[in-house]
Symmetry: C2
Subunit: 381 residues, 2 copies
DNA sequence: CTGAAAGCGCTTACAG
DNA sequence: CTGAAAGCGCTTACAG
């Protein structure tokens, strides 16, 4: 038994030890008024703090006997290492990589996650965390894997990925698994992989919300058009799910059903988009609502304005600089916000919690499906 | 000039010094690859780190000459103190107090801020922050000031206040000013005081959002009722503003105006509430929408169900356990969420940033006005 | 007015 | 397998 009688805050624990047994119940009685440190543990175990550190970090080179002894003490006293002191002492730098689509001329959506990354890094840089962001093009076949390889070459401690091109991201996740580099997804998910977490929206449910909003406003006797614009549907379940959710709402809804139509346009060209829409609306004049499954909704808004179709209720996704003016004017009734800033922010924080603080992180962090209209827009921007 | 040639990362800075002048431009050229510490500054100033510390913390006992010299260096090098090392070294404990209404039987709204407080403290307790929460009753005349006095007696380093009883909170804020204890408001605000910040919703705008939702669904030929239930209107601008915002929407809206009616019920008793509502609806049978200005909306939902008035569109505030079942059933169409968890969370974090990290904090932190309906409810709970 | 030293709780070589 | 020592960047008495 070490001589610890002179350490005031450990006297209670000492008493318990004298009785010959150190148990959780005893500790509850002990109630030390000071934080437990490795020094205390070393004292109680009769070893040096170096040995305690070895056990705590599983660094080996400790006899089984002392290992067990120390573990029993840390557990009983519910020892919590001081992260501040730890990062201060270890000059270790943790390097993250983020892989996401580049901002293309067609949509500024991917600007937002950049500020989320910045915010997260500002918050955790004290802990020696850095991040490097890598951009791929969703339009170029090999872009994702090329860029991902570059990230891998730097051997980061963790990778945050927006897997918009699902096939390629799947391949890459397997490589990360092999190389034992932890990764997390944001914005869209690929199920059943070893990602630390997914941060983003439940895409099916977001389609259901879109449908509810449409339903809430439209009368009973009308038809609705679901439009997908250049969304790489086959390689992007996220967008597919929105459409499915939208359709599901009307399928399961009791009462007057509405007739749904679907239109896929694989072009960014306003000419192409207009003529497709014009054709469809001519064939189905009873369409009173249009739901666009991604941030390209502004194309449809433009069309509605140029053709003066103000009777059509338009709903889509994302508070991009392209979409916002149409929401403000009322051409778009509602935009569903994916919280792109929070997505990347929480993704990095999750990596930090898991890798640096060794905390448990939920497998899915589902962010709210924000309903945004002209009147509450300013607080989401 | 101190001998610093042997300190690799300062060589560039040294070069600049040799030229006789230390200026921002020079520093940009210098680009040190290592973090600047008080040790570096001490070296450059030719003093001990103790003196540097005195200057940085304005502790006096330093000659004007060395003070200026050190300040010039810290500013030029853009010195950022290491908060981790600082809190580790100073065993100082920072104690916050939170003053807010107690959870009453009539509404569970005030449960939510408690988890916000818990979340914030968990995040900053490493920095030696603690918080003690004090509850007052909005129904008892002197409760707020009594409870606030108790908080004051502990001489906290900062106070977070939900000033639901405005007159009393105003008095108390003046006391805090006198005693130089910094304070912040959450949930509702009192303008023109010395609060560090206000975290909460823009209440006028939230009323406007309520009106928009009502408008979006109702046809052109109908009337709307605005109900306030036991809301201490005179002593609570927050609730008053919501009503004003709601009315304002219809006043400024071009096109078909809707007729609005107003009803104030100063009782929690369902009997009283039902008979008031029944009377009003009998007199104005064209009412198709009811907007309730606070979380007591569930009373009206109950009334609508018991009287089978499913044609009435009901909108109110807050995701309380009382309201949620009615939102799920569809009796309530929309609830406006105030983000009560984020309010107290951000309030404490703001106090922390201001008081501990000495950061600037915006005078108002306006949280989003969440539109919640059955379909996106699960992600806000 | 200023400096030297001890210490916060932990990590990291290094010596044995 | 284990311990002693130096150090992370800062703060806090204390001595002069």
């Amino acid at each position: 038994m070490p001589n610890i009688l002179n350490i005031a805050h450990l006297i209670n624990i000492y008493t318990v030890f004298v009785n010959g047994n150190l148990s959780k119940t005893s500790y509850v009685m002990a109630k030390p008024d000071k934080k437990i440190t490795i020094k205390d543990i070393a004292l109680l175990a009769g070893v040096s703090i170096g040995t305690v550190d070895r056990v705590i970090h599983n660094r080996g080179e400790v006899s089984e006997k002392t290992r067990v002894k120390i573990l029993r003490i840390t557990e009983t006293l519910n020892y919590q290492p001081d992260v501040l002191a730890s990062t201060l002492a270890s000059k270790k730098n943790v390097r993250f990589a983020t892989i996401m689509p580049k901002v293309d001329k067609e949509s500024s959506f991917w600007k937002a996650p950049l500020s989320g990354i910045e915010k997260a890094i500002k918050e955790i840089e004290h802990y020696g965390i850095t991040n490097k962001t890598y951009f791929f093009s969703v339009f170029e076949k090999n872009s994702f894997l090329e860029v991902a390889q570059k990230a891998l070459d730097e051997n980061p401690d963790g990778i945050l990925i927006a897997p918009s091109v699902q096939e390629e991201a799947l391949q890459f996740a397997n490589i990360c698994d092999e190389r034992k580099i932890p990764y997390a997804f944001f914005n869209s998910n690929i199920a059943e992989l070893n990602q630390i977490t997914y941060v983003g929206q439940d895409s099916i449910q977001s389609g259901i919300v879109g449908a509810k909003l449409m339903d809430y406003c439209l009368g009973t006797n009308c038809e609705i058009l679901v439009v997908s614009i250049y969304s790489f549907l086959k390689n992007n379940t996220h967008i597919q799910n929105r459409k499915q959710g939208f359709i599901k709402y009307y399928e399961t809804k009791s009462g007057a059903k509405k007739q749904l139509h679907s239109l896929e346009i694989n072009s960014f060209n306003d000419g192409d988009i207009y003529s497709e829409l014009r054709k469809t609306l001519k064939e189905k004049p009873n369409i009173k609502g249009i739901f666009v499954t991604n941030s390209r909704v502004f194309h449809v808004a433009r069309f509605i304005e140029s053709e003066k179709l103000s009777h059509i209720n338009l709903i889509g996704y994302d508070l991009t600089t392209e979409n916002i003016p149409y929401l403000e004017k009322g051409t778009i009734s509602f935009l569903i916000n994916q919280k792109p800033i929070e997505q990347s922010y929480s993704g990095l924080i999750a990596l930090f919690n898991k890798i640096v603080l060794k905390k448990d992180v939920p497998k899915e962090i589902l962010l709210p499906i924000d309903i945004v209209t002209r009147e509450n827009l300013m607080y989401y921007e």
